[in-house]
Amino acid sequence: MTKEEVIEKVDAFLIDEFEIEEDQIKPDANFKDDLEIESLDFVDIVVIIEREFGFKVKGEEMTHIRQLSDLYDYIEEQVKIHS
């Protein structure tokens, strides 16, 4: 899976499931301050990652994710590890 495919899938679930406006989706968008994604929402992001990308996230692995680009990078890296 290419980085572009990861970004496309992540952006799609943020728009569809988290109801985030398309123009808010930027790599440097901060989850908490810009996208209003709170800690409970990260539980649902873990669920969606498992469904969309096929790997299980350990809760503590998500703690360093602050902005959208962190999530793209993390998923890209994990997809490579699990493929």
Partner: protein, 405 residues
């Protein structure tokens, strides 16, 4: 003690998705009962159930507020918004004034089952998702609505089986009479799905009269063969008389009596003495005698023993004259919701001067023959009514409501 009134009501049920639709159904004797094919597939003894559509709340509520709501929470949200609008209580008012919530609910089966299925299959609890816990607890409706509506008053759920929401209204009445709270959102919610009803179906308490589902729920009728499970949600705004007057809110009715008791006997088989005690307590609380009651909304669920025992309790106190009906003949048994919904149904009848028919009441049995029950609608002025709700464990609740002139 402070006087307690009802200033708003809202309902989402199998016989209508709002007050106006429900009033039309009650007036015309419309049934909300049908067949659920899933129950046939799942090996249920009875596929009969109230038929209800889930409201679509996407675009109405933000995701975070939506995902904690189970099915009955969605119904409760819709019913509560209708009640708040009628009572003229908007968000600005709720932010500046203490409003509480006491709601009846006694199960939330589907989220619990789904969560356990995921944990068993995936061996990872995180994959259950963040909404599940808030959907799964019995207090799901009060915990969600208190956050959605930004409430700062009393906030808890009452689980008293099929008397849950009647007790919730009774408790609200007591808190307001004591001056502890001025406005309480009160009601009951009931999920409508196969998963929550399997264990109840297993007790053979449900009607299997599937030839015509609309004829299956037949309270007090000689040929009744069991109840039909149903649900939805019903909300009333319970408020002190002074607060309602001060706000210029519409006063729909006054709550004047609350009676309660426990049978202290069998877990599922009701008796005559417990309901009798609840009825007597409610009359005493209201300072009324039996002749003061113009209409009785019976609990009568269409079970053989339940209806028989309630009929005896009602006859012992009220004799043969007081008009009695069971709106469960149309709605089926709305369980955790029925105490609140039947207060609303009865207020609608009081407002519009009629007693809804007990549909399917064609032939009385030995006990119901002594009571004033009609299979047809009766045009009648109602100034004061009484509503019974009874539940497993022998919990009984009786409310008395009167017109404010």
């Amino acid at each position: 003690m402070k006087r307690v009134v009802i200033t708003g009501m809202g309902v989402y049920s199998t016989i209508g998705k709002n007050i106006e639709e429900v009033n039309h159904s009650l007036y015309n004797g419309v049934s909300g009962i049908g067949i659920d094919a899933k129950r046939i597939d799942d090996g249920f003894r009875s596929p009969l159930t109230g038929i209800i559509e889930r409201p679509i709340l996407k675009g109405v509520l933000p995701r975070r507020m939506r995902i904690g709501l189970p099915e009955q929470g969605e119904y409760a949200y819709v019913a509560t918004m209708e009640a708040l609008e009628m009572a003229q209580i908007d968000e600005d008012f709720r932010l500046k004034n203490e409003v509480g919530i006491l709601y009846g609910n006694d199960s939330s089966a589907v989220p619990v089952i789904n969560a356990i299925d995921i944990v068993r299959a995936k061996k990872d609890t995180t994959l259950v998702g963040s909404g599940s816990i808030f959907q799964s607890m019995n207090s799901t409706i009060t915990m969600n609505l208190s956050v959605i509506l930004k409430l700062t008053g009393v906030n808890f759920t009452i689980s008293g089986a099929c008397a849950s929401s009647s007790h919730a209204i009774g408790m609200a009445m007591v808190l307001i009479q004591q001056g502890l709270q001025d406005i309480i959102i009160c009601g009951g919610g009931q999920e409508v799905n196969a998963e929550s009803m399997g264990s109840f179906d297993g007790l053979s308490a449900f009607s299997i009269n599937t030839n015509d589902p609309t004829k299956a729920s037949r309270p007090f009728d000689r040929d009744r063969d069991g109840l039909v499970p149903s649900g939805g949600a019903a909300t009333v705004i319970v408020e002190s008389y002074e607060s309602a007057i001060k706000r210029g809110a519409p006063i729909l009715a006054e709550l004047t009596g609350y009676g309660f008791s426990s049978n202290g006997e069998h877990i599922s088989v009701p008796n005559v003495e417990g309901p009798t005690k609840s009825l007597e307590k409610a009359l005493k609380y209201a300072g009324l005698c039996a002749q003061d009651i113009d209409y009785i909304n019976a609990h009568a669920t269409s079970t053989i023993i339940g209806d028989m025992n309630e009929a005896q309790a009602l006859y012992n106190i009220f004799g043969s004259k007081t008009p009695i009906n069971s709106t469960k003949s149309m709605t089926g048994h709305e369980m955790w919701m029925c105490g609140a919904s039947e207060i609303i149904y009865s207020i609608l009848m009081m407002q519009n001067s009629y007693i809804a028919p007990t549909i399917n009441f064609e032939n009385p049995d030995e006990y119901s023959a002594k009571l004033n029950i009609s299979g047809n609608r009766i045009e009648k002025n109602i100034d004061t009514f009484l509503s019974n709700s009874f539940g497993f464990g022998g919990t009984n609740s009786t409310l008395i409501v009167k017109k404010v002139k």
